[in-house]
C-alpha cells in the first residue's frame, strides 16, 4: 500500500520559505498568489499491513520521526492499496 504524509509548519509558526516563494512569484508577475506556504511530503511504500494496522502505525511513525510536533503538523492519506 502507498501512503502520503503531508507535513507543514503550524499556523502559529511563520514560514520564511513560503514568504520567499511568494516574493519570487510576485516579482515574476504572478501577483494573483495571495499567500504561499511550503511543507514536506513523504510517500511511503508499505507492505504487509492491514488498513487497520496502518491507521495505527503511520501516525505513530510520523509523530516519532517525520514531524517535530513543536513546530509542525501533519496529515496523511492512503494513495493505493
Amino acid at each position: 500500500m502507498k501512503v502520503r504524509i503531508l507535513v507543514s509548519f503550524k499556523d502559529s509558526v511563520l514560514d520564511p520559505q513560503g514568504q520567499t516563494v511568494m516574493n519570487a512569484l510576485h516579482t515574476l508577475g504572478y501577483g494573483f498568489v495571495k499567500n504561499a506556504r511550503q511543507g514536506k511530503v513523504f510517500e511511503l511504500e508499505v507492505e504487509g499491513l492491514s488498513r487497520e494496522q496502518a491507521e495505527a502505525a503511520i501516525p505513530e511513525l510520523a509523530d516519532k520521526v517525520l514531524v517535530n510536533p513543536i513546530i509542525e503538523k501533519f496529515s496523511w492519506q492512503v494513495l493505493e492499496t
Binding site: 520567499t20 516574493n23 519570487a24 516579482t27
Partner: protein, 735 residues
C-alpha cells in the same frame, strides 16, 4: 548497426570508430561503444589539449606525484604531503546550478581522499553573467548554495576562491572547485591492481541512471536545444560521501587495500579500465553484482552511469572480510564484483553472457591525440586611445562606483554561506589575498589561492597566462608563503575553432614560462572545452590554483592596516596602464588593451622581498594591487583590519590621476611598517633592487589620496566601506 547518427550521439568521428574496430579486432557492441565514447571524450582523454599541456613544467624536488593521477602530491616535510587538484563543473552547473555545483564539490573531494589524504580545504572560482539579469542571479544563488550545502555538510571548510562577472558567462557559468588534502607520506594510495587474483570491490551508493554520458556532455557544445534536451544531472548525497570518506581513510590507515579509484566522470567504465591498465593487468567482473538503484538497467547504463559517491577498491582475498567490516561500521556495503586478471582485458559478464571484452590498454592509452589547427583571430583587441577617454570630473564618484562593481565588491555574501572554519585550521579567513591553514602538530601553515584574469587573457592570451601565475604567487607572497605547487583549470570555447585553440596554446605557453620563472611545478589540472553557447565562446579563462608553504605560521602577514601612525610603502612601480582594467569596464564600459606588462624577473624579486621582510617580522600588513588598482587596494587595507583605519597618502608620478589610482600595473604590493622598521625595510628593498616608495601614513577616518600635492580623492572609510560591502547583498535583495 553503426550509422553516423549513433556516432554523432557518442561524439565519435568515423576515423575514431575505425580505430576502435582495429584495436579490438571487430565491431564493438553497444556497451563497448559506450565505453570507448566516454573514455575517448575530450573530458576524459584530453585529446585536443595533450600536445600543449606537455609544455608545462612538472618537475620539482618536492614533487611526489605530478600529473596523471587523481591529484598532485607535494612533500611539505615532517613526513606529510599536500594533495590538491582543481576541477570544473561548468555544464552541469548551468543546467542545474545547485546540484551541478554540489556534485562538483563531491567529485573533487573524492579525487583527494582516494589518494589517502583527508580533505582540509575547498576553494571555488566562479564566473557568472552580469547580475542585472534575474537568470544570472538565480544561477549564482543556486551554485553558491550548492557548494555550501555539500562542503558544509561533509565538514570540509571552503576557505577561499574568486567570483567575477562578464556577459560571456551568461549562458555558460564557470564553476571550478579546488580541494586540498593532507596525507602522511607512508599512507598514499593510487589506482593500482597489484596482481592477478586480487578482489575488486564496489563501495558506496548504488548505481542509477544518473548523468549517463555526463562526460560526453561536458565535451559537446551547447546549442539552443540544450535548454530542452536537458541532460540528466546527478543529485549529490554529502552524507553518503562523508561515510565513504571515513570508511576509505580507515581501510587505508589499516593497510587493508591494494588500490582504489573513485568513480567520477565515466563512472564504472573509467575505474574498471584505469585500475588494471595502470598495473598492466586485466579485470573481469560480473555486471549483475553491481549494486543497482533501479530495476532493468542495461549493461550500457550500468557502465556509463555517473551516480555519485561510489568507489572501486582492489584488495587481497584475505583482506576482503576486514574491508567489509570497516564499511559496515560506516553503514556502507562493500561488494565483490570481480577480480584482477592477467592478460590485460576488461571482461564483463551480464546475465551469464560476456557483454564486454576489450583490451584496457586500448581504452586508456590509444585515444587519438589531435594537434588541432590554431591561428590568431582576424581582429585583435582594440587599443586604448587616451585622448578619447575623459578623466572623470568626480574621481571620488568613480572610486565608489569601482568599489561597488560586483567583481571588486566584498564577497562576504558568498563566503558567509560557506563553513570556512570547520576543522579549526583556518588561521586566515576568506577576505584576504590567500587562505592560510595551520598544520596541527607542526609550526607550518599552508596557503592557497585561486586566480585568473580572463579580461587580460582575452586581450592577450599569452600575457594572460603569465599574469595569472604571477598574481597567484603574489597573493601567496603577501601572506608570507612561498609557492610550492600549481594546479590549473583551463576554461575555453570550442577547440575545433582555430582561434580558440590559439588562445589555449598561448595561455599554456604563457603559464609555462611564468611557472619556470617561479620554479614551481604544475602537478595537475583540468581542461574544460566547449564552453560555447549558440556559437559564442566564453572569454579564455585560465584559473590558477597555487599552493604555498609558511615554515612558521606565526610569521603570517594579513592585508588590513594594524594601527595608526604606521608607514605605508609601495613596493614596485606605478605605470600608466589602464588597458583591460576594471576601471575601464565599470566606469567607462570599455574593453580595450593592451593588458599590463609583466617583467617576470622583477616580479620574482618583489615576491622574494615581501617574503623576506615578513620572515624578519618587518611587515605589519601586505596586500597586492590587482583589480581596481592602487585606490581599491588601499581601501581594502583600510577595511580589513580589526577596525577601520584611514590613511593620507601622496603620489608623485607624472601621469593621469585616474591611471595612477585605478591602473592595474603588475608587480606591486602595498605594505605597512612601524616607523622604527622603515630603514631596515628600505635597506632590504635596495639590496633586492626593488623600488620602494613611501606613500604616507595610516590614521584618521578618511582615505585621502594626493596626486602631485593636489588632493585627488577624499572619502570617509565608512562611506567607501558601505559601497564595497553592500553591493552584492543589494543585488540579491528581494524587493
Amino acid at each position: 548497426m553503426i550509422d553516423p547518427k549513433i556516432l554523432a550521439d557518442h561524439n565519435l568521428t568515423l576515423e575514431e570508430y575505425e580505430t576502435i574496430v582495429r584495436l579490438i579486432g571487430r565491431e564493438p557492441n553497444w556497451t563497448e561503444l559506450g565505453i570507448f565514447s566516454v573514455m575517448w571524450s575530450e573530458h576524459c582523454c584530453y585529446k585536443s589539449s595533450k600536445v600543449h599541456l606537455r609544455k608545462l613544467p612538472t618537475e620539482g624536488r618536492q614533487v611526489i606525484q605530478g600529473p596523471g593521477e587523481n591529484a598532485g602530491i607535494i612533500d611539505i616535510g615532517d613526513g606529510l604531503a599536500v594533495v590538491f587538484k582543481i576541477e570544473s563543473h561548468n555544464h552541469p552547473s548551468f543546467i542545474e546550478p545547485f546540484q551541478g555545483a554540489a556534485t562538483g564539490v563531491g567529485g573533487i573531494l573524492r579525487d583527494i581522499f582516494t589518494m589517502g589524504a583527508r580533505p582540509v580545504a575547498l576553494l571555488d572560482s566562479l564566473r557568472f553573467g552580469p547580475l542585472g539579469a534575474g537568470r544570472n542571479k538565480a544561477i549564482m544563488e543556486g551554485v553558491v548554495s550548492g557548494i555550501s550545502s555539500y562542503g558544509n555538510s561533509i565538514g570540509v571548510p571552503t576557505v577561499g576562491g574568486e567570483v567575477t562577472f562578464d556577459p560571456s558567462y551568461s549562458l555558460n557559468p564557470l564553476v571550478n572547485v579546488f580541494c586540498l588534502g593532507l596525507a602522511r607520506q607512508d599512507k598514499i594510495f593510487y589506482a593500482r591492481a597489484g596482481q592477478p587474483g586480487n578482489q575488486v570491490l564496489y563501495v558506496g551508493s548504488k548505481t542509477g541512471r544518473d548523468g549517463i554520458h555526463g562526460a560526453t556532455m561536458a565535451s559537446a557544445e551547447f546549442g539552443k536545444e540544450t535548454e530542452h534536451k536537458r541532460p540528466n544531472v546527478q543529485v549529490g548525497d554529502p552524507f553518503k560521501e562523508k561515510l565513504l570518506l571515513e570508511a576509505c581513510l580507515e581501510v587505508m590507515d589499516k593497510n587493508l587495500i591494494v588500490g582504489i579509484q573513485d568513480m567520477g566522470a565515466a563512472g564504472l567504465t573509467c575505474s574498471t579500465t584505469e585500475v588494471p591498465a595502470k598495473s598492466g593487468l586485466g579485470l573481469s567482473f560480473n555486471l549483475d553484482l553491481v549494486p543497482q538503484r533501479e530495476a532493468g538497467m542495461t549493461p550500457y547504463e550500468i557502465m556509463l552511469s555517473e551516480s555519485q559517491e561510489r568507489m572501486l577498491i582492489v584488495a587481497e582475498k584475505g583482506k576482503v572480510e576486514e574491508v567489509r567490516q570497516v564499511f559496515a561500521k560506516w553503514d556502507l556495503e562493500a561488494v565483490v564484483i570481480g577480480e584482477i586478471t592477467s592478460g590485460g582485458r576488461l571482461v564483463g559478464t551480464f546475465g551469464g553472457r560476456t557483454e564486454i571484452d576489450v583490451p584496457v590498454e586500448a581504452v586508456i592509452n590509444r585515444c587519438p591525440v589531435y594537434n588541432r589547427k590554431f591561428e590568431p583571430p582576424a581582429r585583435t583587441a582594440p587599443r586604448l586611445d587616451w585622448e578619447s577617454l575623459p578623466q572623470p570630473a568626480d574621481l571620488k564618484a568613480a572610486f565608489l562606483r569601482l568599489l561597488a562593481s560586483p567583481t571588486i565588491a566584498d564577497k562576504e555574501w558568498v563566503f558567509r554561506q560557506y563553513d570556512h572554519m570547520v576543522q579549526t585550521n583556518t588561521i586566515l579567513l576568506p577576505g584576504a589575498d590567500a587562505a592560510v591553514l595551520r598544520i596541527k602538530g607542526t609550526a607550518k601553515a599552508v596557503a592557497m589561492t585561486l586566480d585568473g584574469n580572463a579580461a587580460f587573457a582575452a586581450l592577450d592570451p599569452r600575457a594572460g597566462g603569465r599574469l595569472a601565475v604571477a598574481e597567484a604567487c603574489r597573493n601567496l607572497a603577501c601572506v608570507g608563503a612561498a609557492p610550492i605547487g600549481v594546479t590549473n583549470c583551463l576554461n575555453f570555447g570550442n577547440p575545433e575553432k582555430p582561434e580558440v585553440m590559439w588562445q589555449f596554446k598561448e595561455v599554456i605557453e604563457g603559464m609555462a614560462e611564468a611557472c619556470r620563472a617561479f620554479g614551481i611545478p604544475v602537478t595537475g589540472g583540468n581542461v574544460s572545452f566547449y564552453n560555447d553557447t549558440e556559437g559564442a565562446s566564453i572569454l579564455p579563462t585560465p584559473v590558477l590554483g597555487v599552493v604555498g608553504l609558511l615554515e612558521d605560521a606565526a610569521k603570517m602577514v594579513t592585508p588590513g592596516f594594524k594601527a595608526e601612525g604606521e608607514v605605508v610603502v609601495l613596493l614596485g612601480r606605478n605605470g600608466p596602464e589602464l588597458g583591460g582594467s576594471e576601471y575601464l569596464r565599470a566606469v567607462h564600459s570599455r574593453e580595450e588593451g593592451p593588458c599590463p606588462g609583466l617583467d617576470l624577473s622583477e616580479e620574482v624579486k618583489l615576491q622574494e622581498l615581501c617574503r623576506e621582510a615578513s620572515g624578519r617580522g618587518l611587515l605589519r600588513s601586505a596586500h597586492d594591487v590587482s583589480e581596481g588598482g592602487l585606490a581599491v587596494c588601499l581601501a581594502e587595507c583600510a577595511f580589513l583590519g580589526n577596525r577601520q583605519i584611514g590613511c593620507d597618502l601622496d603620489f608623485g608620478e607624472e601621469m593621469r590621476t585616474d591611471a595612477l589610482l585605478f591602473g592595474e600595473s603588475q608587480s606591486r604590493i602595498v605594505i605597512t611598517v612601524r616607523p622604527d622598521d622603515l630603514d631596515k625595510l628600505l635597506g632590504l628593498a635596495r639590496k633586492k633592487h626593488v623600488p620602494a616608495v613611501i606613500l604616507g601614513e595610516t590614521g584618521g577616518t578618511d582615505l585621502v589620496f594626493h596626486h602631485q600635492d593636489r588632493e585627488a580623492v577624499r572619502v570617509p572609510v565608512a562611506e567607501a566601506y558601505r559601497a564595497w560591502k553592500e553591493a552584492l547583498p543589494e543585488a540579491f535583495l528581494i524587493k
